[in-house]
Amino acid sequence: MSAQIIPSKTQAETGLAEVYGAVKAKLPGNAAVIKLRDDAFSAFSEAGLPHRRIESWHYTDLRTLMREALPIAPAPSAAAIEALRKEIGTDLKQKLVLVDGVFAPELSDALPEGISVRSLASVLAEGKTDLITLISGMGLGSEDPIVALNAALMQDGVVLEVAPGAVIAEPVNILYATASATPAASFSRSLVVVGKGASVRIAESSIGSGGRTGQTFGALIFSVGDEANVGHTLMLTKTVAGSVRLETFIVEIGAKAKFDSFALIAGSGLVRRQIFMRFAGDESEGAVRGVSLLRGKEHADTTLFVEHVGQSCMGRETFRYILDGESTGIFQGKIRVAPGAQKTDGKMLSRALLLTDMVAMNNKPELEIFADDVACGHGATCGGLAEDQIFYLQARGIPYVDAESLLLEAFAAELADEIPSEALVEIFRAEIANWLSERVKA
C-alpha cells in the first residue's frame, strides 16, 4: 500500500491564489474569457509551481527559486508616465509601450498602413472566438503551468494584425517599461497575427527597470500566415538581481513562410525563456537563435519545443552561452516530427563556453521522430576558449584579456549577425560588447 502524497502549497503558490482571487473580477474579458481564466488557474493550481520533478523544469525549480508571490503592479501615476516619456525619448520609432504589462497608447506611436494595434484587454472584452483561440496559444504550451498562470492572469498586451500582403518595412518595437516603485508582478500577453504573404519584424526590449526587483510573466504569440516573412528579436537585458522573468514564446507557422528569431539574454536574477514552435504548413523555414551571457550567480534557462507537422520544413535552432562567475545555463530542446511530416530538415545546436570552474551548463537535446524520411540532428558542446587561438592573437601583440574578449565577442555576435537587419545587428553587437567590457571591469 502506498500513501498518497499531497504536496503542501508553498508560500508563493498560496500567494498567487490570493492574487488571482483579488484581481480576477477586474481582469478584462467576456464570459468565455472568464471561463478560460478559471480553467487555466485550476490547471496551474493543480500542478503548482513547476519543480525539478517536472521534466521540462528540472533545472529551474520554481518551488525553491521563487519564494513569494508579488502583488500585481498598480496602474502608473501620471508623473510616472511623464518620467517614462522622457526616458523613452523619440529615437525609437514605431514603438508600442507596455508599462508593467499594460499597454500605454499615450507613450506609443501610430503604426503605418497595413498593421493595426489594439490592446489585449479590448480584444478580450470583445471576445471574438477566432482571436481568443490564437491568444490561447493554439494548443501550444498548454500543458505548462506557467503558460496557464499567464493565461489566468493576463492583464493586457498588444494585439497586432498585419494585413495580407502588407510589407512593414521598419521593425515594430515592443518596449517593456516598469513604473512601480515597489516590487511587483506583471502578466502580459501579446499576439501578432501575420496575414498571407505579409512581412513584418517585431523587436522586443525593455527599459526602466529602475533597479527594482519584480516578477514578469510574459507571453508573445505569433501566428504566421502562409507565405509570410516574419522576423523577431528579443533583448532581455535589464533584469536585476532578485527578479524573476518567465517569458513564453509561441509561434505557429503556416505554409511556405519564413520565420527567424534572435534573443539576447544578459541580465541578472532568474530568467527562463520557453519557446513553443509549430510548423503547421508545408515548405516553411524557421530559425530560432539565442545567446545568453551570464556571470555572477545568474541563472538563464532556454527551453524549446519544436513540432513539425507540415512536410518539407526546415528548422534551425541555434543557441550559445557564455558562462562566467558562478552562473548556471540551461538549454533544453526537443524536436518532435509528427507522423506524416516527411522531408523535415531539423537541426538543433547548443554551444557553451565555460570561463570558470564554478559554472554549470545543463544541455538536454531530444529528438522524437515519427516519420521515416527526415534529416534531423542535434548537438551540444561545452568547453573553454581555445588556448591556441588566444596565443595566435597574443603573438600579434593583443593582450590576453583583449584576445579573450575578441574571441568571446566573435562567439556571441556570430549568431546576432544572422539577423536580417543591419540596424538590429549593430544594436545587439553593441550590447554584447558592452557586456564584455563590464565583465573585464569586474
Binding site: Y392, A395, R396, G397
Partner: protein, 252 residues
C-alpha cells in the same frame, strides 16, 4: 639582433632543446634546417611565448631585452613576429578588426598614438595589393575558409603592417604551391632591411632559392650541429639528413 643563449626546454618531461644557442645579427637572414622532430618548431614557439613548454634555463634576447620574462603580446610589441606554420582560423573575428586591434595594441604598448581608420586603411591597401590579397578576403573572418596559400599571405601581410624588429618564419613553405611560394617570398624579401633580421625554419632547400639566407644552420637533437653559408642548404638537399639523424638518436 636575436641572441638565444643556452636554452634548455622540455615538453611533458621530454627534453626538446638541449643547451641551444644561436645568434642572428641585424639584417641577417639565418636559416635553420633539420629533420622532423628535432625541435625547430619548439624553438619558434618558445621564443614567441607559447605555453606548454617548460623552459629550464637560458635566455632569448631581442636587442638586449630578455623575451622570456614577458607575455607573448609584450614580446610582439617588443618587435618579435612569428609567422605560423599553420596560421589559425578565428571564426567570427573580422580580418580588418583583428589587424587594427593588433596594430593599435602594439602602438599603445610603445606609447604611440592609435592609427586613424583612414591611415590604417591606406596602409592595409598598399600592403595587401603587394601580396595579391583580394579585398573580399579582408572582409571575411580571419583565415576562415582561406586556402593554405591565402593564410600564409595573410600572415606576411600582418608582418608588413606590424613592422617587427625580427621575424621568425616557421616552415612558411609548407602547403604552398610554386606561385604562392614566390609571392610569399617576395613579400618577405621586401621586408628585409639593414636592421631587420629573420630566422627561416624549413625542411627543404626550395624556400631558400627564394629567400636567400646569409647563414644556414643544421639542427639536430635540440641543438645546432653545423653552420655554413647558403651552399650548405644545397649540400643537404643532395645528401639528406641521414648523417645528422644519428646524432639526434644519440641525444635522445
Amino acid at each position: 639582433m636575436l641572441e638565444v643563449k643556452n636554452l634548455n626546454v622540455s615538453v611533458a618531461g621530454r627534453k626538446i632543446l638541449n643547451d641551444f644557442s644561436l645568434t642572428v645579427k641585424d639584417g641577417e637572414v639565418a636559416a635553420i634546417m633539420g629533420p622532423n622532430g628535432t625541435g625547430k618548431s619548439t624553438l619558434s614557439y618558445v621564443i614567441a611565448g607559447k605555453k606548454d613548454y617548460e623552459v629550464h634555463s637560458g635566455e632569448v634576447l631581442l636587442n638586449g631585452f630578455n623575451l622570456l620574462d614577458v607575455e607573448p603580446d609584450v614580446r610582439a610589441s617588443k618587435g618579435l613576429f612569428l609567422a605560423f606554420q599553420y596560421p589559425l582560423e578565428i571564426p567570427g573575428v573580422a580580418t580588418m578588426t583583428f589587424l587594427k586591434t593588433a596594430v593599435n595594441a602594439q602602438r599603445k604598448h610603445r606609447g604611440e598614438p592609435e592609427l586613424s581608420t583612414p591611415d590604417f586603411m591606406k596602409k592595409v591597401k598598399v600592403a595587401s595589393d603587394k601580396l595579391g590579397i583580394k579585398s573580399d578576403m579582408m572582409k571575411r573572418a580571419l583565415n576562415v575558409g582561406f586556402s593554405g596559400g591565402e593564410k600564409k599571405r595573410m600572415d606576411i601581410l600582418q608582418m608588413a603592417l606590424l613592422e617587427p624588429a625580427f621575424g621568425i618564419l616557421d616552415e612558411t613553405d609548407s602547403g604552398l604551391d610554386i606561385d604562392a611560394l614566390r609571392i610569399v617570398s617576395e613579400g618577405v624579401n621586401s621586408l628585409r632591411t639593414e636592421k631587420r633580421g629573420f630566422l627561416v625554419i624549413t625542411h627543404y632547400q626550395r624556400l631558400l632559392d627564394y629567400i636567400v639566407p646569409d647563414t644556414v644552420h643544421v639542427m639536430s637533437g635540440g641543438k645546432i650541429v653545423r653552420t655554413g653559408g647558403k651552399e650548405l642548404a644545397l649540400e643537404l638537399e643532395k645528401s639528406g639528413y641521414a648523417e645528422y639523424a644519428t646524432s639526434e638518436a644519440a641525444a635522445a
